[in-house]
Amino acid sequence: MKKLVTPGEVLSDKPLRIDNSLVEEGKTISTIMGMYDDQTSSLIPIEGLWYPRPGEKVIGVIEEARLNTCNVALNAPYKGIIILKFSEVNMVNNDIIEATVKELDKTGTIVLSRPKVLYGGKIMAVKPSKVPRILGKENTMITQVSQSTKASISVGMNGLVWVKGGDVDLATKAINQIVEEAHVSGLTDRIAAMLKSKQQ
């Protein structure tokens, strides 16, 4: 059975290895707010922070473009940086970019690689813990939204979403609904129904 747990709640009397939990005195304890499924013993955060992992796609805004490096605002605990030696993209301040996390280096900066400038469009911030739900299983959810609104959407794991073209308002509304109801089952059907009713 799934249940909503808060920080400090005992998940199990046995020591288990679960994400976002810790073991104290032989008991497994939740450290965040999340949905705990005791059959699969998985704890999915409903409130959480983004922690950079190599290979993740992020959306950011260029804060300061210099000759060799660019500082990127990522809406995260650490600053992002692009080393221009490895890329041939021209970037100026306030450009919205899509990039991949290369590493989190020792000084506490997120090194990004493979930048791509996203021209125009609109950027919105969502809770990073809801990003997997926005994407859906094998990106089904986001494909559904972008196909029916004809908008091009790019979702960063850091919780920034870029939307351009098509019905931007409807796409934004759909994403906001996903964020709000991420923990309620049957979400894909509801979003499909919502998109269909708005289109007519």
Binding site: L4, T6, P7, G8, V10, T31, M33, I46, Y51, V184
Partner: protein, 243 residues
Amino acid sequence: MEKLELLINGKRLDGRAMDELRKISITASPIRNATGSAYIEWGNNKILAAVYGPREALPRHTADPDRAVVKCRYTMAPFSSLEEHGRPGMNRRAIEISKVTKEVFENVILLDLFPGTSIDIFVEVLQSDGGTRAAGITCASVALAASGIPMRDMPYAVSAGKVGETVILDLNKIEDNYSDADMPMAINPRNKEVTLLQMDGELTKDHFKQAVEMILKSGEAITKLQKEALRLPYEKAQERYNR
């Protein structure tokens, strides 16, 4: 100072029993810009708490390369109490309360996950009626849970005190000023760790034990309220489709 009679016919001035809390209501996430926030109404206390971060620790020399640092700012609004509060911002008392609040949360947040950053906790007292540091800690712990910052536990805080030979729980402003002792205490509910213990006045050993018992007993109710406040927005979204 003239002694005030605080207990009349076995009841307190506001009609509460000796071990009765004031009415508490907590709202989670009222502030959109913050990472996490909470609002508490504890009797006549009205307190807003907001958490920002983990973010870059500024000024840079405050950062710790091994763990996150917690910064706390407790302030009373100039209009918060009947007495004059003068200039807004930090005075001696606010600096002290900021420090003890910081130390409560340093012990529960998993700081080593975010090295080099700072977690900023703001506690703003809008209206005060005694026991604001306890209410502030209770509120800030809900704000931290709502922000998704990993914590070992959700602490709560209450004060207990003594009038004559009677131990009372959750002192209000008048009781705080004229009682013989006042002891705020912050506790991690899961393993009953004490993270804050201060005392004004004097308590005997027996009275101290009695006060701690009262606090631990009332803590169950407070923890329940904190959890309900956090669950409410999610249960509301769920209810919309379960009807």
